[in-house]
Symmetry: C2
Subunit: 277 residues, 2 copies
Amino acid sequence: METIAIVGVGLIGGSLGLALQEAGFTGTILGVSSERSIASALELGAIHAGAGLDEAAARADVIYLAQPIAGILKTIERLAPICRPNTLITDAGSTKFEIVRKAGELLTGCRFLGGHPMAGKEARGVEAADPGLFRNRTYCFTPVSIADLDAPLVRQFTRWIERCGAKILTLSPEDHDRTVAFTSHVPQLLSTVLAVVLAELPVEKLQVAGPGAIDMTRLALSAFDIWSDIIETNRDAIDHALTVYIDKLTELRDNLQTPRVGENFRVAASVAARLRM
Amino acid sequence: METIAIVGVGLIGGSLGLALQEAGFTGTILGVSSERSIASALELGAIHAGAGLDEAAARADVIYLAQPIAGILKTIERLAPICRPNTLITDAGSTKFEIVRKAGELLTGCRFLGGHPMAGKEARGVEAADPGLFRNRTYCFTPVSIADLDAPLVRQFTRWIERCGAKILTLSPEDHDRTVAFTSHVPQLLSTVLAVVLAELPVEKLQVAGPGAIDMTRLALSAFDIWSDIIETNRDAIDHALTVYIDKLTELRDNLQTPRVGENFRVAASVAARLRM
């Protein structure tokens, strides 16, 4: 890997540029993004130069799509006629099935590897970029076949992701999407609905909200533009995971003051502790 | 207020002792607690001396009950025959109706004022005590009649709570309990149920959990002993608030990919931002 083009230089793309350099990458980092993001990214040192998508496709051996899902799908269409045989295209989209399906259909002229870094913060934009964003975080890759991971350029790229501090986990695109419905999409929607319910309280009652309500509504600050893409590309898995959740919550409500609630608290505390190990 | 006895010198009781002194209180602070807690509290300077409940009732003009709910209810029974006419008894229990009801029935020989500081952290015990725990937090008082707040000793005490940095909110006990069902009890149960649902995923899939799942399962670390009292003394309000929540979550699930979801996100982000003001 000598030249990487990052398409969409925001929080994730900018952080990758900084993290790669901190990890010792001495090749060229191109940024394909809005004029404003390129200017900020250059100032922060996250990229070495701005480029158009055509130039990026001509020069880069790795093209990293760090846009929202709808942007990634559009860029895949634009790259289809111009990507070169030895290029690796990879992405950081929050759902994988639809992206991997489209890439498999259109990017027949080069190699594609779906990816998803389990890292983020509320702040968006390259200004929030952080070279430590991937450190100690899981980074999912979703190859169509495990053999996809053996190609030399793919190995080089995944090795750089490890050098950025991430722990790699390999899942099928379907399995990834089913899992993040539980671990990411349901938590977001729980937070959003909690805030919607609190919005219906008389406004002075909001003063009663303590640290617990504050924690549980942090995700509710998320912007919908990101989430409308996620919901659109993972509707069935989210529907299923929400149904499982609603059933468990209803069960707990119907068993309030039985020993089952205590058992729920113990199981919950143990898995919450494991998530923090 | 010249002598305050804190019954139950843990996180809240210890923090009150430290906060009062930081706010300029120069009277005596007695602690009624386990031998171990008294020793730690003395070492931290949160109290001036340990005492038994009889001695505390004989010496203190304010008795502050900072135990879990069941402990507060028991202490009210024990104080009934020994409290003096000019003593103010107040508490920091998480639900108010049952405590205020019992105090009204038994503490006919002195004055009682229910209270609830909206402050806390996961860590428990006096070792976690923090003089800033109440700062910029709401502190609810739940007088049976607003006139209860006019008694000179009550005014002195609530003034000290303000000097500790808290913002006072007055609610009826019933209104308090209905409100915290939404702002505190439902958030706790949402977090517990999320962790229970995640516990059913294959264990390697937990690696996919990102910062969102971590946030949303923090409350799931809470110990059940505190929560079993809360559930027992606020069952109907929790049942109602959970039902409202389940209905909204079901509505959102059934409307995924309609414009209503976007509207939910906007309302949620706005109330989540207001909670942070």
